[in-house]
């Protein structure tokens, strides 16, 4: 068991953003988390990556409790993430951005090593040409790729992708999915990807899907099974959206 959440709850004032969620992720697993905005997905990510501490419940990573561990210590254990709205270190170059990931992530590399790793990662995601550009000058798509490279450079065991694919066109999506597949196989990274709309992408990518609804886990199971579940269609997808 790589990651385990037990009854995790997070409240903001009166609002219960995440309500008693249990979740288990195996090493090297590909999991999709779906749900509309406001269903608690991002809060869940923030709880796993340590941006927030849960009000109730416990979180384990490789059997070790990390419930109240600060985010920078979690990365050292092997958790990495991207952001829904990319958060590059704007005035640093793309290469430096990715190197920062290598330096302070699980890879824990020295400066020279990190810069080399950064080059490799940039080649991997295909934006090596942009390495000397200031990160703030990238297009949103490029920023997302850079964030992916930065997260991969951390050499994580668990990679949390927050709406990585949103806004990409199908060709890009396929490329990224292949890339994730390759990385996952080579390095045995567990990937949790989170999506709002792109159902067909999730079907291609995830082996298992969790649907979030109003802060709670609505359902979880094998991807196709879950997405065709009438309950899911009713509360989340609505009648108009036809999946698959």
């Amino acid at each position: 068991m790589l990651l385990k959440l037990e009854g995790v709850t997070k409240r903001f004032g009166g609002l219960v953003a995440v309500n008693s969620v249990d979740l288990e992720v195996e090493e090297g697993e590909k999991l999709g988390v779906v749900g509309p905005n406001g269903s608690g997905k991002t809060t869940l990510y923030n709880l796993i990556s340590g941006v927030y501490m849960p009000d109730e419940g416990r979180i384990f990573f490789e059997g070790k409790e990390i419930t109240n561990l600060p985010p920078y210590d979690r990365t050292k254990l092997g958790i990495a993430r991207t952001f829904q709205i990319p958060r590059p270190f704007g005035s640093a170059t793309v290469r430096e951005n990715v190197a920062i990931g290598a330096m302070f992530g699980m890879a824990n590399a020295g400066v020279d090593e990190a810069l080399e790793m950064a080059d490799d990662m940039l080649k991997l995601v295909g934006i090596y040409d942009l390495k000397d550009k200031e990160a703030k000058l990238l297009t949103p798509l490029e920023k997302k790729l850079m964030e992916l490279a930065r997260a991969l450079a951390m050499k994580p065991k668990l990679l949390l992708l927050d709406e990585l694919l949103a806004g990409m066109n199908p060709a890009n999506i396929n490329e990224i999915l292949e890339l994730l597949d390759r990385v996952k196989k080579e390095e045995n990274i567990a990937v949790i990807a989170m999506v709002e709309h792109l159902m067909h992408a999730i079907t291609k990518f995830a082996e298992r899907v969790v649907v979030m609804h109003q802060g709670m886990k609505l359902i979880e199971g094998p991807t196709m099974e879950v997405l065709n579940d009438p309950k899911v269609i009713e509360v989340y997808l609505g009648e108009k959206l036809n999946v698959g």
Partner: protein
């Protein structure tokens, strides 16, 4: 980009300045003035430039550094010359560390302008503690030249307050530059850039932002303390609380960093040169009117180069061969 080549530019600039000071009569003190301003800019830059946090209490660190050296020379001079000086530097560093640990521990939890303004009372606070509680001579300060003359002889005293003090300022200034260059190329530097740009994201990238902020803050403060110990105590041979906690040095250091470009290695050098030389020559050309002229000039520079002169040049130089030498 791991590169120490901008350091060449920096060291070269120091060499040229020292050469000018030594060869042109009357230029030595102005050069020392410029170096003093560059140094306080550089030491501030380690923190302000790389984290974006403005430390308004900055002068307090110069002040406690000055006191560290002053206390050693004034109260422990029977140890002998060399041990007293060593003690002086150690005390300066320790006092600066102590103050920065306390102030940093409290104020670094605040962000942006809140941090800046929270630190604005630091120098006043320490000043009034020293004066009110009559610590180290209270408002009468420590006057050293007589003591030094008595303990070590007139020649040594003269040597200490001129050659040695000047050499000390230069060494500290260059050390500050080297430390800056080292930080820029180290994990610390990358961590600082990351947290300056986006603290939340930096945390998730594995950066213990509190730790790195505190480290940068303390490095900056210790360097400031050493500048105070050399440029003030040794060179002026006295420490008066009203003098060493004057807020205008903080503001001047900020001006220098901003003029040159925050977070760049050469920024404080260029900023210090512009600021100190402008002021010096304006004071000579238009005595009494120099600040009246300087103020609008500063505004013009800010309007033209919001990112500082070096920041501007570095941007323009990106991709050219100059790039390696401007940062």
């Amino acid at each position: 980009m791991k590169s120490y080549s901008p350091l060449i530019t920096l060291l070269l600039a120091y060499l040229i300045m020292i050469a000018i000071g030594q060869s042109i009569p009357g230029m030595w003190q102005p050069v020392m003035l410029v170096i003093f301003y560059i140094a306080i800019g550089q030491a501030l830059n380690v923190f302000l430039g790389m984290t974006g946090y403005v430390n308004f209490g900055y002068v307090a660190l110069l002040g406690v550094g000055a006191y560290g050296m002053g206390v050693a020379l004034g109260y422990y001079n029977e140890l002998g010359l060399i041990p007293t000086l060593i003690l002086g530097f150690i005390l300066a560093a320790i006092l600066a560390l102590l103050v920065s640990a306390i102030v940093g521990g409290i104020a670094l939890r605040l962000r942006g302008a809140y941090f800046a303004i929270a630190t604005i009372g630091v120098n006043e606070g320490i000043k009034y503690l020293i004066m009110g509680a009559k610590i180290w001579g209270g408002s009468e300060g420590i006057v050293l030249s007589g003591i030094l003359r008595k303990s070590f002889g007139a020649e040594t005293m003269r040597f200490l307050s001129t050659t040695f003090a000047d050499a000390g300022v230069i060494v500290v200034a260059i050390a500050t530059g080297v430390v800056t260059a080292y930080i820029l190329n180290s994990r610390l530097g990358y961590a600082l850039i990351a947290l300056r740009e986006d603290e939340e994201a930096a945390k998730v990238m594995g950066i213990n932002v509190t730790k790195y902020k505190q480290i940068a803050f303390m490095i900056s403060c210790v360097l400031a303390g050493l500048i105070g110990a050399t440029a003030w105590t040794l060179k002026l041979t006295y420490v008066f609380p009203q003098d060493v906690f004057a807020i205008n040095y903080t503001v001047e250091a900020i001006v220098i960093v901003m003029l040159g470009g925050a977070g760049t290695l050469l920024g404080p050098l260029v900023g210090g040169l512009i600021y100190a030389l402008l002021k010096y020559y304006l004071a000579i050309a238009f005595p009494g009117l120099q600040l009246l002229i300087l103020a609008p000039l500063l505004i013009v520079v800010i309007l033209l180069f919001p990112e500082g002169v070096v920041g501007y040049i570095a941007k323009k130089a990106r991709g050219t061969r100059l790039e390696n030498f401007v940062r």
